[in-house]
Symmetry: C2
Subunit: 351 residues, 2 copies
């Protein structure tokens, strides 16, 4: 899977036709593949179906170029090979950033938005190690585990797959991270520019996260959670599913433990992943110093980092990348609202 065998470059007219077909309303990936197979080519399909005109494609392509991006059309040499092999491969991806990452071995790290600080720390440590071992870390730019994974892998290579258009920043608190991944990693999405990230786009996004990757690491998936569904789809795609276990008394691990019962690989640390894939041959770039993330909302960050397990205030400052004074202010406000508990050793937790 790592030495992607690329198709020869597409004929330019067929490439434009694929873009037109893919952007035609009500033609999803399934209809696209069906049309291609039925008519023999997108060019033939565009003649028979009421495909959008070419100028619409040129408009979007120009706007995308304005953001420093470009299309990856199914059949392009740069289109990721593992994804191309799926029966529901996205006909077109929009890409902003370093598409060279797509030629390297990729692993997805996904999990709960409402993750514990311990879970996010695990995600960060594992992603740093995966990066150092030569893997590109793929995730969905959501709060919680996704954010921890992207941040930790920014220096070595990370791909964020968005549910909306590539210009749609979601969640807003990750605006800084979105921007940094565009500059130093790679943003990918299936939706056209300007498409808001509506609810039903997330499962479609998740199939791309796992489809790009040789395996998916799941950290803190509750029963009936999105991460659980992602993992089940990943298994259907033939991807390895690695799951970090937790106590049956902690509902954050309900789905995780179910997955291990269903045959996913119980994962204690990076060695459980290396023992399946080995260490990739290609070396990552040397890690650079991580840039400061702009402060969107200090309260949101601090709240996001707090859990019911006591956490050192120093650790909060470090994790939230917000000044110690701001953290102290936020904690005081939470305490006055009766939401914060203080513990010895300058530690705090949510009530």
């Amino acid at each position: 899977m790592f030495d992607g065998t690329h198709l020869p470059d597409l004929d330019p007219a067929e490439r434009r036709a694929r873009l037109r077909l893919a952007r035609t309303p009500r033609i999803g990936p399934a209809s696209f593949h069906e049309a291609l197979s039925h008519f023999g080519s997108a060019r033939a399909a565009c003649v028979r179906l009421d495909a959008v005109p070419e100028r619409r494609i040129l408009q979007e392509e120009k706007a995308l170029a304005g953001l420093g991006g470009r299309f990856l059309v199914l059949g392009d040499a740069a289109y990721p090979a593992a994804l191309a092999a799926l029966p529901d491969a996205p006909p077109v991806l929009s890409a902003v950033g370093d598409t060279g990452l797509l030629g390297r071995p990729m692993l997805a790290v996904v999990g709960a938005r409402e993750a514990s600080l311990a879970g996010r720390r695990f995600a960060a440590e594992l992603s740093t190690q995966l990066g150092a071992a030569g893997f590109v870390v793929v995730s969905g730019l959501a709060r919680g585990i996704d954010t921890a994974a992207h941040e930790a892998a920014l220096a070595t290579g990370t791909v964020a797959v968005l549910a909306g258009g590539i210009d749609q920043v979601y969640p807003l608190q990750n605006a800084g991270l979105h921007d940094m991944i565009a500059k130093r990693g790679l943003l990918l999405c299936e939706s056209p520019l300007g498409t808001p990230p509506i609810a039903r786009a997330f499962p479609r996004r998740n199939r791309i996260v796992s489809g790009l990757s040789a395996g998916v690491v799941v950290i803190e998936a509750a029963a009936r959670s999105g991460s659980l569904i992602t993992a089940q789809r990943a298994a259907e795609q033939g991807r390895e599913v690695f799951v970090v276990p937790g106590s049956p008394m902690d509902p954050r691990y309900g789905g995780s433990n179910d997955l291990i019962r269903e045959g996913a690989i119980l994962t204690r640390d990076i060695n459980d992943i290396i023992s399946v894939f080995g260490r990739p041959q290609c070396r990552p770039q040397a890690p650079e110093k991580q840039a400061e993330i702009p402060h969107d909302s200090a309260t949101e960050r601090v709240l996001g980092a707090l859990g019911t397990v006591p956490t050192a205030v120093d650790e909060l400052v470090r994790r939230c990348q917000v000044s110690a004074a701001t953290v102290a202010e936020v904690l005081l406000a939470l305490e006055l609202e009766g939401r914060l508990e203080r513990h010895r050793g300058n530690r705090v937790s949510l009530m």
Copy 2:
């Protein structure tokens, strides 16, 4: 395994010879079985080997009867069938209590001495449910998980297997529980009366815990822990091994997660056990009101119930079966020593 097929009762002379052979110094279970197979019978073996005289057996039998106990000799109808099938079956067991429990389906519940309160609560809840489902709960009377399992199953049926002689109370803090199990459950051991519980007796004891049982449930086994070894031996005996998972960040689950990786059954609740064995046909006795445990050392009990996760003082009082005033006194002393942390909601934890 549940409908134990018993051998016909032993010939009285052969039975006495087996007791003499088993009590002969330097004849362990392996030598016993070898002698039996080589000489054809214990009677023949006693003639050729320098077996202890019969009066030594009569002395021990009389002393055991004084404690309300009796011998179960390999070959006796009352000797547990599952244990008899092992190649290293104990030649003789000493039994005090209700040997009728040995005819019912048994499951072992084992784990860390230094268990968390959450782990002990899990052990207690599971053992209560296993008892209600018709299983006898077998364990080793150690601190932590073993104690929680025995206490919870006292009303429905529990078997404690001791490492030393049946008159040896170990650990001392479980003197009350030892006594209650003698009266309402069953104490078993392989060692002669008066044998202290030396270190190398514990692995031998553990093979009996698992050997009696259809399966072993492991709760909080650290890497290289005794519970881990018990589970591995149980698997070698052909017993089902059920393991409760935990976070890889918690060293109390290092061995547990390793066991699941090696093929043990990830266990979330009693349903994961029932789905293997079903619910036994024979019904347990109706649960009786649990007697008060005598107070050995209130401090030890309170310490044993405390962990780094905040616990309600009310819960401590309930768990420790010590008066609220005594618990308050112990907590104050711990606080003055700087070992206790207090939290909102009348909760406390160790520093």
